[in-house]
């Protein structure tokens, strides 16, 4: 599942937002050599990290960031239209328009790269389309390195390259756009073997007693269990919690293992 982090629920993701900026510094500045970027508090920031930015996080089971991307409406500012207009064969005003969003700062932690990371990357790329669609986007624009064009194509987005590529300080770049549609989301989910629900958008007051990654587990269970089953599961978990409160971690793990074995046998 991909967590949708917007202005209203950022308070629930303070730890992940700090880690995201740190990982962006590690990925874009230290690995890819974008030395001209702004850093503060050990992280990388730009002027699109404002109230209108929506972050998409794929979290690990411990709540840390596995993958991340940012989408943002382009009406007031846009990396592509403001900084790379030469990548466009259309007027930049077409990109800075209502209903156009921009994808940027996409990265995956090293453990999610290569073959092992394909499924989660495709989950995040599908979430880009699904979350933009939810926000009324008719078009999502982005800039990528030319050597990554094959990953854009193989994702299966309804995409189009927007102009000729150009060299920039750190490589060769090309612009593309993606057309979000319900049909496209359905097709991407089928193609990459993804299961619903794809997005988790937690309200600012919905996570008082749980961390976002813990709620993700609940959301996944809710997707496959009925209301009655969920109620029973909740009671069982409550009892297990009471029992494990008096146990060491090892004893709690052994108990959970015993329950799991009993259920699966």
């Amino acid at each position: 599942m991909i967590h949708v982090v917007k202005l209203e629920n950022r308070g629930l993701y303070a730890r992940q937002l700090e880690e995201m900026h740190q990982l962006r510094k590690a990925f874009f500045i230290e690995e890819r050599g974008w030395s001209d970027r702004t850093t503060r508090d050990g992280g990388e920031f730009d002027d699109l990290d404002d109230d209108r930015a929506v972050y998409l996080f794929g979290l690990e089971t411990d709540g840390s960031i596995g993958l991340s991307a940012r989408i943002r409406p382009t009406g007031d500012k846009s990396m592509l239209a403001d900084h790379f207009p030469e990548l466009l064969s259309e007027p930049a005003s077409e990109v800075k328009a209502p209903g156009v969003w921009e994808l940027s700062r996409y990265f995956a932690a090293p453990r999610h790269r290569g073959r092992e990371g394909l499924r989660r990357n495709m989950e995040l790329r599908t979430a880009v389309v699904a979350s933009a669609l939810q926000r009324g986007a008719r078009r999502v624009v982005a800039v990528t390195d030319v050597y990554l064009m094959n990953t854009v194509i193989r994702t299966g987005w309804e995409h189009r390259f927007l102009g000729l590529p150009m060299s920039y300080a750190h490589g060769d770049a090309i612009a593309f756009d993606v057309r979000p549609s319900a049909r496209s989301v359905e097709s991407l989910m089928e193609r990459h073997g993804l299961s619903a629900p794809l997005l988790l958008e937690i309200g600012p007051t919905e996570a008082e007693n749980a961390e976002p990654h813990e709620l993700e587990v609940l959301a996944k269970a809710a997707a496959v269990l009925g209301q009655g089953d969920l109620r029973i599961l909740g009671k069982l978990m409550g009892r297990l919690g009471e029992l494990s409160a008096t146990m060491s971690d090892a004893e709690a793990d052994a108990l959970l293992q015993k329950v799991r074995s009993a259920l699966l046998s």
């Binding site: 290569g114 073959r115 990357n121 102009g163 590529p165």
Partner: protein, 245 residues
Amino acid sequence: MTPAQAAALEFLQAGPAASDLSAFQDRFEAAIRHHGFSRYSYVKLAEHGQPIVPRLAFGRGVEQWAAYYIEQGFGAHDPAMAGIFSNTRPFAWSEVQCQAETPEARRVFAEAQSTGAREGLLVPIHGAAGELASVLMISEEPGFDPKAKTTLHAMAMLYATLGLPLAEIEDDEPRPGKLTKRETECVHWIARGKSDWDASVILGISESTVNMHIERIKRRLGVRNRPQMIYELFRRGWLPREDAY
């Protein structure tokens, strides 16, 4: 915009609409000829991060040279081959020829030039799952405008990524009125809940080829999604049996 730039933009934006490999290669050739390139190929070099015996997958005008190159084992001496494994950006023969320090390496360039080739541009194609391939564009003219390298890079990326499924899909065995051999194989795995990527690994074809097969079946059956496709295949009695292949 120059005619060469207009042709490149036309290929990048309209090239994907080509219905078969021949039409797609026509469009690619029309664009790269503006830069003096008239022969081209896509060669697979590694799978799952491991080098393989180079394999020409598709191209035009390079079949004989590719077969000779592989037969002679030129890859072991060719500095361009090492460059493909270590670069993400394209490079020209003329940029790596100075690294040909052994007689065997110099022979690779001499023999290439004896076929009429004056310059080659190599574009490494790195896949996310450790696949490596290269697109080679050959010119019978002495040089090309280095400012065009970025545009040629983008065109080669598109040629590689869309050309592979078009080439693989032509390497199929039609069965009129039913599913083809490859379609049968793809349906077998998709019906068992595999993703396109999973099926592609099992079948040894590209993920895009699996998707192209499935999309063609959906169109033929007039259905919207994969569950409907499976049901319709079942209804028509076309669903592959366990021992179908």
